[in-house]
């Protein structure tokens, strides 16, 4: 074993929340997301021999998370509920703004939503996003720019 149990424990303490939130943003179900965290660490421990140290542990864990979540989603078909409607009623006072943002995000494809999530919520750098999504850094720059431009125009149109 390359990794000691302590190392795995530390990784779990540091990154389990990130993995939980990322899988929650993909799976839209808390129970499935909690299962995902466990499954990701099991896969991580099993496949640690193939880790060549080209990226950080965090990026690698999130890549495993992504693969697991997509595998799970393909298994039962794509989830119809991308973002829950109820949360608008509970959490957000600025309903108009959030509804148009929700509409705008609903119209994005899965990869663009993921890109926005990884950048805005999880706060990953372009290089990390590129590693997780398995695309080039330039590609990340362009895609993120396009998505933001799209969202900005959509919100502008809603206001006018």
């Amino acid at each position: 074993m390359n990794l000691k149990a302590n190392n795995v424990k530390e990784l779990f303490e540091d990154y389990s929340d990130d993995i939980l939130n990322y899988s929650l943003s993909l799976l839209k179900n808390y129970d499935d997301a909690k299962d995902a965290v466990q499954e990701v660490f099991i896969r991580f421990i099993k496949s640690q021999d193939s880790f060549r140290g080209e990226c950080s542990y965090k990026t690698w864990l999130l890549t495993i998370t992504r693969n697991y979540c997509f595998g799970k989603m393909n298994g039962k078909g794509r989830q119809p509920e991308r973002i829950d409607d109820n949360f608008i009623k509970i959490y957000e006072p600025d309903i108009d703004g959030i509804i148009s943002l929700k509409d705008a995000l609903d119209k994005l494809n899965e990869e663009d939503t993921e890109l926005i999530y990884l950048r805005e919520y999880a706060g990953h750098s372009y290089r990390e996003i590129a590693e997780i999504l398995d695309i080039s850094v330039d590609n990340v720059k362009v895609k993120l720019f396009r998505v933001r431009e799209h969202l900005r125009k959509y919100l502008k149109r809603g206001k006018s």
């Binding site: 808390y30 949360f87 959490y91 959030i98 805005e120 750098s125 720059k141 969202l151 900005r152």
Partner: protein, 167 residues
């Protein structure tokens, strides 16, 4: 005039090189349109971050599928217990204890004649347990027959009354 929206995007993510940053600031000082775009991106970033944060908090607090399972399990258990109680009521009757002198014929209890009381000449005691059979020497006496006759008349009358009442 060239617009800098792509560079604004990079700058807000902290990915713009130092020399390009100066160029951007110089441009922003002159171009109102780019300043507006800058502010739009800034608010969009904040909004999306809040949106994801709220959505994730909501998903975490949402009642889970397991809870739903327990809800259905409760109803199933309730239905099962009702069926169980009904089966108990329809099934075997409660165990009844019978005395030595009784024989059970389905659910009707018939008293056994005790062999000792047949040959014995005992006083007629209304509290004696078992079927009341008069000793032979007593039943042959005239007044006993008379009393028996009286009792049977009263009995048949009361039977009649009962039948009428029930009809």
């Amino acid at each position: 005039m060239k617009h800098f929206d792509y560079e604004i995007n990079l700058f807000l993510d902290g990915e713009l090189q130092e020399e390009n940053r100066k160029e951007l600031f110089a441009h922003l000082a002159e171009c109102e349109e780019c300043t507006n775009i800058f502010l739009d991106y800034l608010s969009l970033k904040e909004k999306t971050r809040n949106y994801f944060a709220g959505n994730i908090t909501h998903l975490k607090n949402k009642p889970s599928g397991h809870n739903r399972f327990y809800k259905y399990a409760f109803y199933t258990a309730a239905a099962a217990s009702i069926i169980f109680v009904m089966l108990l009521l329809n099934g075997k009757p409660k165990t009844q204890y019978i005395t030595k002198n009784e024989v059970r014929v389905d659910t009707v209890f018939v008293q056994k004649e005790s062999p000792s009381s047949k040959n014995k000449t005992t006083r007629i005691n209304p509290f004696t347990v078992g079927k009341k059979v008069l000793p032979e020497e007593l039943s042959q006496k005239a007044y006993v027959n008379y009393v028996k006759g009286l009792r049977s008349i009263v009995f048949s009358k009361s039977n009649k009354n009962n039948n009428e009442g029930s009809l």
